[in-house]
C-alpha cells in the first residue's frame, strides 16, 4: 500500500470513528478528517397521550409524555412549518397564550431556554414546577375551545449524507452561508443532543487543532442562539466566525 493510501486509510478510520471530530498526527502536522456535511429531514407524529383541553390535563401530559415530545416542542419547533413567530419559541408557551389565554403562564414558559438545563428531564421538571406554581395561584381551571387542544407530538429525524465536505477552517464561513437550514439545524442544534458537552459540530471539529481556534470556539459558544430563527443564526454564525478568525 502506498504512503498516500495508508494516509487516506488512516483519515477514513478517523472519520468513521470521529464523526467530524478526529485528527491524526503526521510528521508533527495535524491531519484532520474533513468535515462531512450532513442534512436531515423531520417527520412529525402524534405522541401516545390524549390531547389536553385544560391546564390540569396539560400538566398530566407534560409529566407523562415521552421525553422526545419535550425536545420536539422546545427545539424542533425551529424547523417546523408553523414556526415564524418570534413572540414564542416553544409550543407550550404558545398554547398557554393563544389557546388558554393565560399570559402569565405563557411568559413563564417562554423564558425557558432548554439548553440552560443539563438534560431534557430537568427541563420537564422545570416546566412542571412552573405549572404547579401557577395552579396554586389560580382560582379556576380554564378550558380551551374545541379544536384548540394541545397535542403532544414528537418527531423522527432522518439524517443523510449530502456528499459534500470541506477540510480547511477558513472555508467554514462560506460553507455555513450556503447550508440549508435543516443542515444547519443538524450541525448546530441537534448536535447538542448527541454530544457529551452539548456543543455544536463546528466547534468540535475546530478542536482538532488544539488551541489554534479557541477564540472562534469561544465566540460561537457565546451566541445566544435559542431565540433566533435558523436564518438569523446562519447570519450570526457567519459574522461571528469571520470576526473571530480575523483576530487569530
Amino acid at each position: 500500500m502506498s504512503n498516500k493510501a495508508v494516509e487516506n486509510k488512516k483519515i477514513n478510520q478517523a472519520k468513521a470513528k470521529s464523526n467530524n471530530r478526529g485528527h491524526l498526527e503526521k510528521n508533527g502536522d495535524i491531519v484532520v478528517a474533513p468535515f462531512e456535511i450532513k442534512d436531515c429531514a423531520l417527520i412529525t407524529r402524534t405522541g401516545n397521550g390524549l390531547p389536553a383541553m385544560n391546564l390540569r390535563e396539560f400538566r398530566q401530559g407534560v409529566a407523562s409524555c415521552p421525553i422526545e415530545s419535550i425536545y420536539h416542542h422546545f427545539c424542533e419547533t425551529v424547523l417546523r412549518p408553523s414556526f415564524d413567530d418570534p413572540e414564542f419559541h416553544n409550543d407550550l408557551a404558545r398554547w398557554a397564550r393563544r389557546d388558554l389565554h393565560d399570559h402569565v403562564l405563557a411568559e413563564r414558559l417562554e423564558i425557558l431556554d432548554p439548553y440552560a438545563f443539563a438534560n431534557f428531564e430537568e427541563l420537564r421538571r422545570a416546566v412542571l414546577d412552573i405549572i404547579d406554581d401557577h395552579l396554586s395561584e389560580i382560582s379556576y381551571i380554564a378550558w380551551v375551545d374545541e379544536g384548540s387542544s394541545f397535542h403532544f407530538l414528537r418527531a423522527t429525524t432522518v439524517v443523510f449524507e449530502t456528499g459534500h465536505s470541506f477540510s480547511k477552517p477558513s472555508e467554514l464561513v462560506k460553507v455555513i452561508s450556503e447550508m440549508t437550514t435543516s443542515s444547519l439545524y443538524y450541525h448546530f442544534w441537534e448536535a447538542r443532543r448527541r454530544t457529551e458537552d452539548q456543543r455544536d459540530d463546528f466547534s468540535h471539529w475546530l478542536k482538532n487543532w488544539p488551541g489554534r481556534y479557541d477564540k472562534v470556539i469561544e465566540a460561537i459558544g457565546n451566541i445566544d442562539f435559542y431565540f433566533m430563527s435558523l436564518r438569523e443564526l446562519q447570519k450570526k454564525l457567519c459574522t461571528t466566525i469571520e470576526e473571530a478568525m480575523k483576530s487569530l
Binding site: 442534512d39 429531514a41 423531520l42 417527520i43 412529525t44 407524529r45 402524534t46 390524549l50 390531547p51 422526545e68 425536545y71 412549518p81 408553523s82 415564524d84 413567530d85 379544536g147 387542544s149 397535542h151 407530538l153 414528537r154 423522527t156 429525524t157 432522518v158 439524517v159 443523510f160 449524507e161 449530502t162 456528499g163 440549508t180 435543516s182 441537534e190 448527541r194
Partner: protein, 417 residues
C-alpha cells in the same frame, strides 16, 4: 397511470432552489427501486387525484418505482363512501349493514385484480376510506402499508368509525394533515400538511394582461382596493360575515369585494347560503358574487393576483389551501382563527387571525391605511409559503416517512440504503 402531468422536478429549481431538490435526491437515494403503490378511488377531480398526479411522476424521477392504482366501484359503493366521507367529518349518516356489505364487496372484487401488485410492493399508500379494506384481502403482504387520511376525522360519526377503525388500525402507520384531525390508534400517526403546486394553473405566475383582463370581465374598478374570498358557499366559510365586514369598511374607504365559489346545484344547503349571500349583496355593485366552473383555475389565479387582501373568514376549516394560494401570490391574508389557517396566518407577519366580522373589518382598515405593510406582509407570506407549503416539502415528508418505515422509527435515523 400518471395522468398528463408533464413537469419535471427540475422545473421547480428556480422556485425552491437547488438545495431543496438535492435533499429530495439524497433522501430518495435510500429508496431507489422500491415498489411504491398509491391507491385511491378516482383518477380525476378532487384534491387526492391532484396530489397523486404530481407525486407519482416525481417519485419515479427520483428512482422510486411508483405507481398509481384506482379502484373501480359502482354507484352503491360510491354512495357508501360518500357517507363514509361525511361520517368521518362528523356528520350523522344513515348507514346500514347493506352499505357495509356493498363496501366490502367492492374492495374484495378490486383486490382480485390488484393483489399481485399490492402484495409485492415495498410500500402501499392507501388514500382515504374508499380502498381501506384492500389490506384485509391481501394476506401475503411483503411491504409496509400506510393509510393516508385526507379528511378531518377528529369527530367521526360513531357507526362509521366503529366499522373503519378495525380496518385502518391494522396498517403500519397512518398520515393525517394535522394533529387535530387525527384519531388515537395503535400505530404511528404522522402529520403531513397539504401543499400547493406553484406551477399549476391555479398558482403559476400570470402575464399582467391576463390579470388586467379580469377587471373588464367582471366589471371591477381598477383603482379601488379589492378584497377577495374564494370558497364554497357554505356556512362554515361565513360569506355573510365577510359581507358584513366589507360594509363596515365601506363606511370609511372605497373598497370592492369578490366572493368567488362554485355553483351550488348539487348542494341544497349551499344553494340556500348562496341565496342569502345574493340578498345581502343586492344593490351594491361593488360586491361581486362569482359562480365559477370547477376548472376556472386561471381565472381564480388572476382574481387572487388582482386582489389587495385575501380573506378566508371560516368559522371551521380543514387546512385551508385557499389561504396558501393567497400567501403564494404575495397577499396578506385575514383568516378565521381556526383549523389549518392558524398554521399559515401568523399575526402581523403573514396576515391577521380574526374571530368576528368586526375583527375582519378592523384589520382591513388597518392594512388599507398601510400600503407599504401590505407589500411587506405579502412578501413574507410568499416566502413562508415557499419554505413550508409547496409540493417539494410535501414530497420530502413522504420520503422521510418511507425511509423511517424502512428502518424502524427511532428519534434519529442515519439513512441507509
Amino acid at each position: 397511470m400518471t395522468g398528463t402531468f408533464q413537469r419535471s422536478l427540475r422545473d421547480y429549481e428556480q422556485i425552491v432552489g437547488k438545495p431543496v431538490l438535492h435533499q429530495l435526491e439524497q433522501l430518495a437515494s435510500h429508496l431507489r427501486g422500491k415498489k411504491t403503490v398509491h391507491v385511491n378511488s378516482t383518477k380525476t377531480g378532487g384534491g387526492v387525484a391532484e396530489i397523486l398526479a404530481w407525486m407519482i411522476p416525481f417519485m419515479r424521477e427520483l428512482g422510486i418505482e411508483a405507481s398509481w392504482e384506482v379502484i373501480e366501484g359502482n354507484e352503491p359503493f360510491f354512495n357508501v363512501t360518500k357517507m363514509f366521507h361525511n361520517g368521518l367529518q362528523g356528520n350523522k349518516v344513515p348507514i346500514k349493514q347493506n352499505h357495509f356489505d356493498a363496501y366490502k364487496d367492492t374492495n374484495r372484487s378490486n383486490s382480485e385484480k390488484l393483489r399481485p401488485i399490492l402484495e409485492e410492493a415495498d410500500f402501499v399508500i392507501v388514500h382515504d376510506p374508499q380502498p381501506a379494506m384492500l389490506r384485509e384481502f391481501c394476506p401475503n403482504r411483503k411491504g409496509r402499508w400506510i393509510w393516508r387520511c385526507h379528511i378531518d376525522a377528529s369527530k367521526p360519526d360513531r357507526k362509521v368509525w366503529k366499522f373503519l377503525r378495525p380496518l385502518v388500525e391494522q396498517y403500519d402507520a397512518s398520515i393525517f394533515s394535522m394533529a387535530a384531525f387525527s384519531q388515537a390508534m395503535p400505530h404511528p400517526q404522522f402529520l403531513v400538511a397539504p401543499s400547493i403546486d406553484p406551477l399549476s394553473e391555479k398558482n403559476t405566475e400570470l402575464p399582467q394582461e391576463e390579470i388586467d383582463a379580469v377587471f373588464d370581465r367582471f366589471a371591477l374598478k381598477r383603482n379601488v382596493p379589492i378584497l377577495c374570498q374564494v370558497s364554497r358557499f357554505d356556512r362554515f366559510k361565513d360569506p355573510l360575515g365577510v359581507i358584513h365586514a366589507y360594509k363596515l369598511v365601506k363606511k370609511f374607504s372605497p373598497v370592492q369585494l369578490i366572493l368567488a365559489g362554485g355553483t351550488a346545484d348539487d348542494d341544497p344547503e349551499g344553494a340556500e347560503v348562496l341565496n342569502e349571500v345574493q340578498a345581502a349583496a343586492a344593490e351594491d355593485s361593488d360586491i361581486h358574487i362569482l359562480l365559477l366552473p370547477p376548472d376556472a383555475h386561471r381565472t381564480i389565479n388572476a382574481l387572487q393576483r388582482a386582489s389587495t387582501i385575501i380573506i378566508q373568514k371560516s368559522t371551521r376549516e380543514g387546512f385551508g389551501l385557499t389561504v396558501t394560494e393567497g400567501l403564494w401570490k404575495g397577499k396578506p391574508v385575514i383568516g378565521g382563527d381556526v383549523g389549518g389557517i392558524r398554521l399559515q396566518v401568523i399575526n402581523h407577519h403573514t396576515g391577521f387571525l380574526v374571530s368576528s366580522p368586526e375583527g375582519v373589518a378592523q384589520r382591513i382598515r388597518y392594512l388599507l391605511n398601510r400600503p407599504e405593510l401590505i407589500k411587506v406582509m405579502g412578501n413574507k407570506g410568499r416566502e413562508f409559503a415557499r419554505e413550508n407549503f409547496l409540493l417539494t416539502r410535501h414530497l420530502r415528508e413522504y420520503l422521510t416517512l418511507m425511509v423511517g418505515l424502512q428502518q424502524g422509527f427511532d428519534n434519529r435515523l442515519m439513512a441507509a440504503a
